[in-house]
Amino acid sequence: MILVLVDHDRGVLDATSVQALTAARALDSDVEVLLVGAAGRDAVAELATYGADTIHLAVHDTLTDYAPLASAKAALELVSSRSPRGIFTTGTPRGNEVLAHIAAILDAPMAAEVLSVTFGDAGVHEVVRNRWGGNLTETARVHNDLLLAAFAPHAIRAENATGAGNVTEFTPNLDAADTAVRVIDRTGGAATGVGLAEARVIVSGGRGVGGPEGFDVIEQLADLLSGAVGCSRVVTSNGWRPHSEQVGQTGTKVAPDLYIACGISGATQHIAGCRTSKTIIAINTDKDAPIMGYAHYAVIGDAQTILPELVAATRAAKE
């Protein structure tokens, strides 16, 4: 049996976390799911549409909001009572975090950023996983009976299937220390404009844009194309734009229909965040910049003179 940790936020199923369920179902006909917190009841019906038959729901007075260590303790009770051969999560911040707590408590190895898993005999399993934000893959052996694997987000598409959605509630044994670290408040949330991760078009600027004022035309072009503004790390580390707009390995990963990279060299850590864009256009003075190996189309030249013209022509074409 494989135990899958699926996440919800105050009752709303985290669709990304379900990807691990699809991964588990492809490997084993016997899969059980853990949801933590009474609010998880609201996520059960939707979870069943992803093929969840057996759902364990951990309910406890202290489980009023996400508390990573408490989730790990609840999973460990199922490790004792249900003896899974693997625990899978999707590597969201929470998925990685809860699995790492389990790994630390068991002193067991854990593989993160996993793309595929092959269960082996004698307590040695094989995984293939991402490194360097997906620029490299690693084949690794995991030496432990129980395989702890966090799947790289979006490496697997969650598939619908009819599940029985049978829920068994249990009360894990928790003490105050298990919920000492928990969400105590939330701030913000009202996003304005098109969010970077969801945008169909992203106009992105790098060092070659010249400075914060260079982003005026980038904003105008993004507006005309109903898109969002992105940027490279050089831009955020110079304070030209907020970090929420950074695309890349340590920024946001995006996959728009169109990604326009203006004055961006195409370092592997930037590409890690935009490689799956459908069409990439580069505007760069250097015809040999690494971005040319990833872009579909390129214009060689000064972004600061091309962009104002492009904004004018795009506006004219819309009229």
Binding site: D257, Y294, I306
Partner: protein
Amino acid sequence: MNIAVCAKRVPLSGGRWELTADNLDIDTSGASVGFTTSPHEECAAEAAVQLVEQLGGSSTVITLGVADSEEQVRSLLAVGVDRGVIIETDGSEWDPQATASALTEQIKAGSPEGAYDLVLLGTEAADTADFQVGIRMAHALGWPVVTNVKGMTIDGGVARCERAVGSAREVYEVTLPAVITVKDGLNIPRYPSVPGRIKARKKPVDTVIIEKPAARLEKVRLDLAVEEARSAEILGTGVDAVPALVEIFKNIGVL
């Protein structure tokens, strides 16, 4: 307050990665390959320096890596960290369990100013992305841990931490001593100044050597991500290419 920052030397390439012949490592012999620390860890070091400026105390950077990691340690000393410790390896990789236990021993040993109150790390390492070293350290130390932190203030021995969830932020609070793993964007790391670099040369960097345990997450081989080798179609030079760009906008349906 005594703060430890755990940071790692990783290769940085101007172009695409290349692998060594045995497929076990990134080939770092090429001229375009240098070394750096990850943005997450630069932010961790910046946070440590700011906290010591604010609250007093000391900061120490601890790294597990080859002797040449001194280059990355000194660059963090140049932005204001007080001292460094290198747990020296022969260059072969340590798995996350081995890394966490080696780092934990250094935390337990404390700094010359006394016991550590706070350990800061990147949420994941740039190269291996294991997402677990900080959490393992917290368990070994018996301390609480918050991960993925993008905003942090410390007041009266309590750290208030924020982490991004979509466009919103979740708030956590932990009592020190604690482990906090941070993300790029926590702050804007300062550039080392010339006096900073000169001072860094004189700051103490200790080296310790310990035995490497057997890997339980054992690297077998690396491969380059499969990708069609592309070569961009050049639409033209300068503003003359603008009509061709607008044509593409129309063709792919974004206009």
